[in-house]
């Protein structure tokens, strides 16, 4: 889902917890303070929320279908202006064993970066701002 509220690490993990699952992997994308040698003070995220919700559901469905194991998955991306250190995206994958949990987590973040209609604008210490070059959705 897309949210304007701060993302809670614990909620991501608890959303996928299951007593029969022994492998739980969480990934958090966090705003960092430098990019390409320039000091970053904040990052703004914008999304096409309706389309993004569909794309997220497709990504999770595809990842579930990929593995021959039961998977419990969580995906949340924040929008708005985020300060350095704030979480932009949270992913959690929970499976019977660790391998599927690790791989599912990686699959989801890579798909989000390449497929989700989300845009990122970095704000620099010198007052300049720049949109991050991304991946074209043209097909």
């Amino acid at each position: 889902m897309i949210t304007t509220e701060p993302i809670d690490r614990g909620r991501a993990a608890s959303a996928v917890a299951h007593p029969s699952h022994g492998g739980e992997c969480c990934f958090f994308g966090v705003v960092r303070d430098v990019n390409l040698g320039k000091k970053v003070v904040a990052v703004s995220y914008e999304a096409h929320a309706a389309l993004c919700t569909k794309v997220f559901a497709q990504i999770l469905e595809r990842v579930r279908a990929k593995y021959d194991q039961p998977l419990r998955l969580f995906l949340e991306h924040r929008t708005g202006r985020l300060a350095v250190g704030e979480i932009s995206v949270a992913i959690a994958a929970n499976s019977v064993h660790r391998d599927e949990a690790f791989r599912a987590c990686r699959d989801i973040i890579e798909a989000v970066k390449h497929e989700a209609p989300i845009w990122k604008q970095e704000h620099f210490e010198d007052g300049d701002s720049e949109w991050v070059h991304g991946h074209s959705l043209c097909k």
Partner: protein, 76 residues
Amino acid sequence: MQLELYGPLRRYGPVTLTFSTPQPVRAVRDALAEKLPAAKELIARSAFGDDERALADDDVLQPGARYAVLPPVAGG
């Protein structure tokens, strides 16, 4: 046709383009680039979409409908 522009294109929009017949995405993209020459290169790499999906270049857009123009994405 109403076009809502996202991300780095937002400052140019929204944009209204007038067509009398349905048009493929590639034709609407060309028309948008002609209307916004300053954003021509970015528009060339932008997809079109609705609330359900990103559309292919051969998909047909309806004259009275509303679409999103989706520049290259950078989530995460």
